[in-house]
């Protein structure tokens, strides 16, 4: 089956050239001949069950299904004739005989294939008078309703769930007319990707958040980008009267190729949430009161100017946002550098991508970065300290697609995750030993002098791995299929001590073997915020500070020479009384940064705190000024996804209340402070940025010159220190249903999973006397949280797994605030805890 071979097929008396290896319906779609269908979908395996695509092939006496018949050279096909019409009408007649015909209140009406085909064929007889069987509508799933009566038995939902999502949640039960497509006990667990809703040709699978809230023809559609993880999926927002009503993918557009995850599809509820901040607020006499924009901006400008006058520009710190657009982040760093006058700029990307980036900068020369499509085509995938299925579900889908094509996936992770369940081999390494693992691999594959201080036996003991297991891991990076080998690394590597050195070593291996790598990214624009210059030691495009003259020329203002402080250094400076003010744009450090109490104390010891956010987050509550900003759907800009693909998008709905886009707030504030930015709109900002940081195709040309990293010595402690007071080890994981504060306010994600669940081994639960659903108090040296328990016999005894992101039980409270000396990233992967039953 070679793609370039053309064959000629005669369709309806015309000769067409089509590529070989297609089915007749695929060939017809490519040449623009319409064949009606219910069950066929290009991305699924053909079923041949609906009998709508019947056609005549010369030489074959009976009608054939176009979806299962391969097109061959010289074939003569007729797609429309009296005989075919009769057969198709008979099929429709049978479908309509048992269809409830409740189009008046069906949410699929006007987007329904059965409706369209009924109109297309017009005169369909009604000869069958058997009573309609009243099949129930199932509401077991909190987000998807299954209206069995409307089902046309095409099995698209069953196939999409099995073949693309890999969840196996839906199966066809019973036979004949009463066949039901439903979730059955003992089947897979629904991951609420909603793909079954998209592919359903009729109204049998429906989005429950949209249920009866409007008709399809009343919706306006606008393309946008998902605000959750780093995949950067294209969303189509269905809006009505300026409110989002539902979200779906648009065809096969975007990096997601028509798939979405639970967060992308059902996580939009925060946009029109009643608790959205609609007006600016200022703290007056200890109370936050609503004021108008003029007053809020003037107040902010005056206070910031006063602090700069009294304590110098170094006394102000800024947190840009791993959620905001590239343009807003670019303006933010320009604001901090030129208007405030220091380099104290960081964002929550410090917790993830920045460390990986520091590692990347430590490797001179080119290292091939994988795209999502490379992952789909991969033959071998090595996943270290990452859980793409939950942190980046679309990357997870790409991985599953590779597995279906026969790829080998090897996971090295101390946790049991959705990814490890898909692996052909899962090495449960000791918690915190991702870095020693990479060092051991580097010793095996690179032969570098720097690593000679380590002893193999010592490293293997730290990782809890036998030498033949290490050899089989190294084997993943050897051999012929190097080009089709992708290494995925995640926060398990980047949040470990000397994570940057490990990433650098890993990339050197990858470069030497000709493989490619991809770092998982938890937040939508971690990468974009770094590339836009929200880093204390790098300018836009990752240019070093020594390159600042080029920027000064364009900006017309001085750029400070001295590198700034990173996030935790700023917090420490605030606690020491040196940092007097914070400008926080779209970040929520109290919830997101490890060691909640430490962060709270640092922020409250600052004299002046400006927070730009959507909601009254725990950080915003402490602020002196709150500036309401627009959500992703309400502003234009561009996000940079985990592959480095820069994707622009436009605003779909007007902002809630008086909320304004981040970029506009910064421009207006800069004017109030007497060093106004000249930009009139977002396009001017983008052009300025693109002139400074040239783009090639959809990627930025970055300054990736080598840095030299301190190489760790064998004396570094990786992994937890035993402590008999705190006998359990808590590991953080990601959840499909949470990613940041907004996801806690999205009604769809709340329905997907309401509360956090602490997963522990049944043996540990027995020792503690708890069972499924009981509450426990988890205490570490720094804090405690109350959480309910879920038993899971697949996770290792004496370890606990808790997902980040749930506002009811935030594991970040339990962590300390030690930072890595190289990447200045706080460690938040594992912590020693004790538990007691409540």
């Amino acid at each position: 089956m070679s793609g370039n071979n053309l064959i000629s097929v005669t369709v309806n008396d015309k000769v067409y050239q089509v590529p070989a290896g297609l089915s007749i319906i695929q060939a017809a779609d490519r040449i623009g001949v319409c064949i009606p269908r219910f069950c066929y979908l290009e991305k699924l395996s053909p079923l041949g069950g609906c009998r709508m695509c019947l056609i005549t092939v010369q030489g074959i006496p009976k009608l054939q299904t176009a979806c299962t018949t391969p097109a061959k050279d010289g074939m003569v096909v007729v797609t429309e004739s009296e005989e075919i019409d009769k057969a198709r009408k008979a099929t429709l007649e049978l479908q309509l005989a048992q269809h409830p015909l409740d189009c008046f209140h069906c949410d699929k009406a006007t987007r329904c294939d059965l409706q369209d085909l009924t109109y297309l064929f017009g005169d369909i007889q009604h000869r069958y008078d058997f009573p309609r069987k009243d099949l129930p509508t199932l509401y077991d799933n909190p987000l998807i309703e299954r209206n069995l009566g409307r089902c046309v038995h095409c099995e698209r939902c069953v196939r999409v769930c099995e073949e693309i999502q890999g969840a196996d949640a839906i199966s066809a039960t019973r036979r004949g007319r009463p066949t039901e497509m439903r979730e059955v006990p003992g089947g897979g667990e629904c991951q609420h990707c909603g793909h079954c809703v998209d592919v359903c040709p009729v109204g049998a699978n429906l989005d429950r958040l949209f249920s009866h809230r409007g008709r399809p023809f009343q919706m306006e559609e606008g393309l946008s980008l998902c605000p959750y993880c780093g995949c950067g999926c294209t969303l189509s927002l269905n809006t009505r009267e300026g409110r989002i009503m539902r979200v779906w993918p648009r065809g096969d557009e975007g990096v997601n190729h028509g798939s979405l995850c639970a967060r992308g599809r059902f996580g939009w509820g925060f946009v029109n949430h009643p608790e959205r901040l609609a007006r600016p607020r200022i703290k007056k006499n200890g109370q936050l009161v609503e004021v108008d924009w003029e007053e809020a901006l003037l107040f902010t400008a005056t206070r910031l100017e006063k602090i700069i006058r009294e304590h110098g520009p170094q006394s102000v710190g800024g947190l840009g946002s791993a959620r905001a657009t590239d343009e807003a982040n670019y303006l933010f760093q320009r604001f901090m550098r030129c208007v405030i006058g220091n380099n104290n700029i960081d964002s929550s990307a410090r917790l993830g991508y920045t460390a990986g980036l520091t590692g990347r900068l430590g490797v001179a020369g080119d290292v091939r970065e994988a795209t999502l499509d490379d992952v789909r085509r991969a033959a071998r995938l090595l996943v270290i300290g990452a859980d793409p299925v939950e942190t980046n579900p679309i990357l997870g889908l790409a991985m599953k697609a590779a597995i279906r094509k026969g790829a080998t996936v090897v996971v090295a992770d101390p946790r049991t995750t959705l990814t490890s369940r898909w692996a052909s081999q899962h090495f449960r390494i000791r918690p915190g030993s991702e870095v020693p693992l990479i060092l051991a691999l580097a010793r095996l594959l690179l032969n570098e002098r720097e690593l000679s201080a380590f002893k193999d036996a010592d490293l293997l003991a730290r990782i809890a791995l036998r030498s033949e297991e290490l050899a089989s891991l190294a084997g993943m990076l050897e051999g012929d299929a190097a080009e089709q080998t992708v290494v995925l690394a995640g926060r398990g590597v980047t949040q470990a001590p000397y994570g940057a050195s490990a990433v650098a070593a890993l990339l050197r291996i990858v470069a030497k073997r000709g493989a490619s790598y991809l770092l998982t990214v938890d937040r939508n624009n971690e990468r974009g915020s770094c590339e836009a210059g929200v880093l204390p030691d790098r300018l836009p495009g990752l240019a070093p500070l020594s390159d600042r003259e080029r920027f000064e020329k364009v900006w017309g203002q001085k750029v400070p020479e001295q590198p700034g402080l990173s996030a935790y250094e700023m917090l420490q400076a605030a606690r020491d009384g040196k940092q007097k003010a914070f400008y926080i744009m779209g970040e929520n450090p109290v919830d997101d940064f490890p060691d909640t109490r430490y962060v709270e104390e640092a922020l409250s010891s600052a004299e002046f705190l400006v927070v730009q956010d959507l909601f009254m987050t725990p950080t915003a509550v402490m602020a002196d000024v709150i500036l309401p900003s627009a959500s992703f759907a309400e502003k234009a800009g561009q996000f940079t996804n985990l592959e480095g693909r820069v994707q622009p998008y436009t605003a779909v709905i007007p902002p809630v209340g008086q909320a304004r886009p981040d970029a506009r707030i910064l421009v207006e504030l800069s004017r109030k402070m007497g060093k106004g930015f000249p930009h009139k709109n977002i396009v001017e900002v983008r052009e300025e940025m693109n002139n400074l940081v040239p783009m090639k195709e959809s990627q930025r040309q970055l300054a990736c010159n080598g840095l030299s990293h301190a190489v760790p010595g064998p004396e570094v402690q990786w992994g937890p220190v035993e402590d008999s007071d705190f006998p359990y080890l808590l590991l953080t994981t990601a959840s499909l249903y949470r990613n940041g504060a907004e996801s806690n306010l999205a009604v769809g994600l709340q329905k997907g999973q309401e509360r956090a669940a602490l997963r522990l081994h049944p043996a540990d639960a027995q020792g503690l006397g708890v069972s499924d659903g009981d509450s426990v108090m988890v205490t570490s040296k720094t804090g405690e949280i109350q959480v309910s328990v879920r038993l899971d016999d697949e996770i290792a005894p004496d370890t606990l797994q808790l997902a980040e992101g749930f506002s009811d039980a935030n594991p970040k409270t339990l962590f300390g605030h030690e930072i890595d000396p190289v990447t200045r990233t706080p460690m938040a992967r594992y912590v020693q805890v004790k538990m007691r039953k409540l």
């Binding site: 309703e145 009866h212 023809f217 009343q218």
Partner: protein, 165 residues
């Protein structure tokens, strides 16, 4: 010459004025003499005549025999409306049924074409004979909500004073 003389005589005898006054006088006398019912001009608003049965006036909402709304919220009226005057809100009820929670007609936009009535598959909306639509008060009074439409639909008034809107 004679024409000039003629005009002179007409001018000094005020002939044209008297001719006009004669017509006025005759109409005045006639109006006193003829009975009121025969007069052509109707004395609106003292005297009102109902509009014709096919007249398309104020919209009314109808209920079925059990007293529940006939409207099922299908939105076809809103789709059919050429002036985009109809706004309809629906939600999921407790039994997962569709509930119409809001129905508004913007009287400023409505052109009284009756396409909503014609398109309605449930005969839930009608254009009644009520033609007195003007209001003195603010704009809000011209956004006809469900309660007002139901009241008109139930009573089917011919004139405004029959109903308290």
């Amino acid at each position: 010459m004679s024409e000039k003389l003629n005009r002179f005589i007409r001018t000094i005898t005020l002939f044209e004025l008297l001719k006009g006054l004669a017509l006025t006088g005759s109409v005045w006398v006639k109006s006193i003499v003829t009975p009121k019912a025969v007069l052509v001009t109707r004395q609106y608003p003292e005297e009102k005549r109902p509009s014709f049965p096919a007249f398309k006036g104020h919209h009314g909402f109808l209920k079925d025999e059990d007293g529940s709304l006939k409207c099922v919220g299908c939105g076809i009226c809103a789709a059919a409306c050429p002036a985009n005057a109809i706004r309809i809100e629906t939600e999921e009820g407790l039994q997962h049924e569709k509930v119409v929670t809001g129905y508004e007609i913007d009287a400023f936009r409505c052109i009284y074409c009756g396409l909503c009535e014609e398109s309605c598959p449930k005969d839930a909306i009608v254009l009644t004979q009520l033609f007195e639509l003007a209001d003195y008060e603010n704009r809000e009074r011209y956004i006809w909500k469900m309660d007002r439409l139901l009241a008109v639909g139930e009573k089917r008034p011919l004139f405004r004073d029959e109903i308290d809107l």
